[in-house]
Amino acid sequence: MAMPTTRREAAADWRRDLFGSPWRSVTTLVLAALALTVAARVLPWTIGRAVARPDAEACRALDHAGACWGVVVEKFRAIIFGRYPYAQQWRPATGTAALLVLAAISAWPRCWRRWLAGAWMIALFGFVLLMRGSTVLGWEIVPTSRWSGLPLSLLLSLLALALALPLGVLLALGRRSELPLLRALCRTYIELVRGVPLISVLFMAAFLLPLLVPHGWQPDIFLRVLMGLAGFAAAYLAEVVRGGLQAVPSGQLDSARALGLRRWQVQRFIVLPQALRAVVPSLMNSVIGTVKDSSLVTVVGLYELTGALSLALGGDPIWRPFYLEGYLFISFLYWGACFALSRYSRWLERRLRTPL
């Protein structure tokens, strides 16, 4: 199967593929007819007959023969920012925009320098400060229980990953340690966490943690859920990193030791860079997994994007019938983020394969 070189060859290739035999021709025609039928139903629904104005009367008159995108327009701020005080919503908006810009910058491997880590620390700290508010800066304090919508999803995913990656690396190193007790502890933790569903970890964080921790020391629900998410992601990341550690040839360790590097230096400068580079695709899968998992916090009463949507539409009898459009909207947001991440991961994989 040589790659077609000219446009004409490519066209011939297509023709052979679609109409190479009688069976193929029939299949192609049937599929084309099917595609046309589906398109004839879906396109008018999404575009043709759809109402994009926030006009409930027009939407009801449609009777679901077309999409009512007006619900997204009408409820946009309620879906994106949820219960966050309306007048203060510029704060999460600024924070989200800043984080997205920083994420776009860090996507470029040439920027992977020490200052980037610092920039992330500052950005995350700044985001939390913006969300929470500060009496010094004259920003009204907003309790974490009112943090919601897209900023909450973003913050939970990013903070959970930022906490889980170092923890996961430590767990992976611990699981391969020479110390039997440390090994057993790390192994137990990883197997225990991977054996239970995330929902039960979140329930534990929401309901069990307050019982275990003395009063006055109790982290609030946001922190508890964050700990649950991070602890859960860490167990999965640990297994990914372990796979990378196993891929580093033992000769590398021996030579590093022979050069007189200390134990931690060997891990820091020789083993981990190679191990992490080897598992970039799986790491990105875990990142995508964590972004998607952040939607589950709605089950324990935090209103991230999914929860904010239920909040925006659930109690409103006028707009309630148009839930489907709302779900499609947030699906599109999640899909855009996760698809971009998975494409990026593929690009990064190719780029990292060639030595820098």
Binding site: D17, S295, T306, S331, W335, F339
Partner: protein
Amino acid sequence: MTDGPRRRRDRRPWALQAALLLSVTALGWALIAHALATLRAQGVAAGFGFLRQPAGFEIGESWLGYDPQRSLARAFIVGLSNTIRVALPACALTTILGTLIGLGRRAPYRPARALCTAYVELVRNVPLLVQLLMWYFALTTFLPDAGDAWRGPFGVYLSKSGLSFPWPAAPPGHWWPWTWDRPIAGPLNVSGGGAVTPEYLAVLLALTVYTAAFVAEVVRAGIEAVPIEQVQAAQAQGLRSAQIIGWIVLPQALRVMVPSLTNQYLNLTKNSTLGVAVGYPELVSISNTALNQTGRAFECITVITAIYLALSLLTSAAMNRYNARVALRGAR
């Protein structure tokens, strides 16, 4: 690590481990002691005796006998049975769908490849919870009322109140079910036969559709692991493409696929806990209700953690045995 200079420092690791053991034990002890003290202050005796109390809450659907007078333990068993009732069919369906899509992604026919790729990229990049809520909303909004249910083939009825289908039944005086109990459409509802609720259908559909995208990737990786020469040799022998897939490719691909498939089945079972979001009474949803009613956070969460761990371990043990059967003789 047996060289001279290392041997002299050998005590340090042990001191480290002892410190680790001590700190973990101390932390665990402090947390549990505090929890027990809190519970005692609230006048609650810790322990699993409360499982014998009457449950006192309704469960929407169950294939085991249950009423609120039955014990909490019974409620948990009903929850577990509901988890299994949705997870097993979903595993079977997702395997079929995922295999078809995985094969489609390697098909020598471009539209098939494009369709299957679109499916995988579309489905796996949207959170399962959002998909589940969407399915549930669609099922409970766009289906007809129970009074004028859709009639499908084989006497199947589909409506807002769920799916009804013929189910084997034992006629009076017999214990072996050898006749069919068929659903009958009445003016207000569909009665008789086997029935599942829209909650069940939503969980089943969401789990199947979502996991199939991942199973498809596993199948594709398995197929790509089979050397192309094997396929060419089979073609040279004059085998048809279905025969090549069934006799040459899949048996060899299974060796690569089984460990990852196990993971997908485990994920599916764990993901079935999302049923709590649409009110499907699976294990976590029951445990959550029990937790809210009795305040026994510690015990309820221990019960579900233990059950899921056992389920995980059992599944991997079973799949390991199967793996040993399909693996190459003498290979490890």
